[in-house]
């Protein structure tokens, strides 16, 4: 009888890839269409607590109220919080390493909105970024109806 081999094996899945086609619904369809066609950032306002949700949505979870009132918010606002991401990680959209690296993830408090927009900031030197700084959306030249119709935010002070 052959001697027992003590090696421990792994089996790779290979490049698994499963494309999805997500229906985003009426509210986010309008949100993305406004970005694409008019470079406008839209929110919805809760009839009870008056909170302006941006990105918009149908129901205010706190009040459990349906929101029908659409509000245009500014493309300018303040940095609410940020991080400069240095560590390499897989981009779940592609299965490849996330590019570019480093990048800055920023939460923007747009004028007229009560929630923050998560997006990129085009500055990766953390010493040059302060919470409260004024920023403005830079729109992509070619817009396809996605969150990337805003290319990134830039500091305007």
């Amino acid at each position: 009888m052959a001697e027992e081999k003590k090696e421990l094996l792994t089996i790779s899945s290979g490049k698994m890839w499963q494309p999805y086609n997500w229906a985003v619904g009426r509210y986010w369809s309008r949100f993305f269409a406004e970005l694409r066609d008019n470079k406008r950032i839209m929110g919805t306002k809760c009839p009870k607590c008056k909170c302006v949700y941006m990105p918009p949505r149908e129901v205010c979870g706190k009040c459990f109220a349906k929101m029908d009132e659409w509000v245009e918010v500014s493309d300018k606002g303040r940095i609410a919080a940020f991080t400069v991401v240095w560590f390499p990680h897989v981009d779940p959209n592609t299965g490849e390493l996330k590019e570019p690296s480093p990048y800055t993830s920023v939460w923007v408090h747009l004028d007229g909105a009560d929630t923050y927009l998560m997006h990129y900031l085009d500055e990766t030197d953390e010493k040059k970024i302060k919470i409260g700084m004024r920023v403005q959306a830079v729109f992509s030249e070619e817009r396809k109806g996605s969150i990337h119709d805003i290319k990134h935010f830039k500091i305007i002070e």
Binding site: M16, G61, T83, V84, W86, F87, H89, D114, Y116, I147
Partner: protein, 385 residues
């Protein structure tokens, strides 16, 4: 009101970065056998099993089905739960619910993960809304680092304040043979470790681990027969809030943790958690959480944790030791992590925490953290109530 329930057995693996020697079923079985041995029970005496992990880390769905051989669930009721980072705490809480319902007497909770089998950040990112936030989000690390900048700005906390938390937890882990990272660590080591995502350094952040944990809950009558000194469940509270990270306005006080702990203290008549709770095992995924979330837990006022942390209040010999096990920043098999908090809190109450034992623990608090900003909380005590 449900029946009174006690924890009668705890088992966990020796957590590592990569367990090449076992597959998922075998890893789960290791923790299950240890929990059964601890409670001196056989598989036949378990009435039901609650199991959980996050499928996207391994890319193999339905652990409730494929783990049956190892979990001991053959011909028994088994339920699978996944609630993001809170998964481990959720399986514990739901095992408690089942035993408290009176429909089952002895219920085993199992949490597990083999995080070595995929890119943790790539997998976690699939939790975020794919058309709004996923691309900007950087897994768990991004939002935690972002929240840290808010706390720095508002209260003047520094990277050194967070590094004090990290060094303490890494040194606590030296007393825990089950911990994944066990290395003597100074504040300077933490500050010199590579920047993952400003202001979070490598040693500020939890690792990704392979590991499993099992905890056995029993209704009062059974619990008294099984264990000399069960850890009694005093209460549990679960709070979920948002699904969009951009909704976390004012995250300097974590709303779910604040709400859950306030409700739990009210139920138990706890007025001063700093004095009335003897030890906490918290799902603090990074050092910054170990600093600021103490305020959400009502241990002190907003911004005051910085001082308490520097004074050593959270040290092993301090007024309220936090994470004697070394916590999540030393051990993080994600689907097990919340259950390990409950297990470690139970060991403290049962007086079985060996070198990491805090003397005379009467009340212990455990939490799970996950999702956008969710809390699963459980308080255990030495007498039933």
């Amino acid at each position: 009101m449900g029946k009174r329930v006690g924890i009668v057995g705890v088992g966990q693996t020796h957590h590592r970065s990569k367990r090449m020697d076992v597959n998922g079923v075998e890893l789960i079985n290791e923790a299950v056998m240890r929990a059964l041995d601890d409670a001196k029970l056989t598989r036949e005496e378990i009435d039901a099993i609650v199991i959980g992990n996050m499928d996207h880390f391994e890319g193999i769905n339905y652990v409730d089905t494929w783990s049956v051989d190892g979990s001991g669930a053959y011909m028994k009721p088994i339920m699978k739960l996944t609630t993001g980072g809170t998964t481990g705490a959720t399986v514990g809480i739901n095992a408690y619910y089942h035993a408290a319902s009176g429909l089952f007497d002895v219920v085993m909770a199992i949490g597990w993960e083999k995080n070595s089998e995929s890119d943790t950040t790539g997998a976690i990112s699939t939790c975020a809304n794919p058309w709004l936030e996923r691309d900007f989000f950087a897994g768990a690390i991004g939002p935690l680092a972002t929240a840290a900048t808010m706390y720095m700005q508002r209260y003047g906390a520094t990277e050194e304040d967070a590094a004090i938390v990290a060094a303490r937890e890494h040194n606590n882990a030296l007393n825990n043979p089950h911990a994944h990272l066990r290395m003597k660590t100074t504040v300077e080591d933490v500050l010199k470790s590579p920047m993952l995502s400003y202001p979070l350094h490598l040693l500020d952040m939890c690792p990704r681990s392979d590991g499993a944990c099992a905890v056995i809950f029993a209704s009062e009558e059974k619990a008294r027969k099984i264990a000399d000194r069960p850890a009694w469940v005093h209460t549990t509270v679960t709070r979920h809030d948002f699904t969009h990270f951009g909704d976390l306005v004012g995250w300097e006080r974590m709303p779910t943790l604040y709400s859950a702990s306030k409700e739990a203290y009210k139920m138990l008549g706890i007025k001063n958690p700093l004095r009335e709770i003897d030890v906490m095992e918290l799902y603090t995924p990074c050092s910054w959480s170990g600093l600021s979330w103490m305020e959400s837990l009502g241990v002190c006022g907003l911004g005051e944790s910085i001082k308490l942390n520097r004074e050593g209040v959270y040290d092993m010999d301090g007024e309220l030791p936090i994470n004697p096990s070394g916590g999540v920043i030393c051990t993080n098999p994600i689907g097990a992590t919340g259950l390990i908090r409950i297990a470690e809190a139970a060991l403290q109450v049962m007086g079985k925490a060996d070198k990491r034992q805090v003397p005379n623990v009467k009340t212990a608090l455990a939490t799970g953290f996950g999702g956008c900003s969710w809390t699963d909380l459980m308080i255990l005590g030495e007498t039933p109530r």
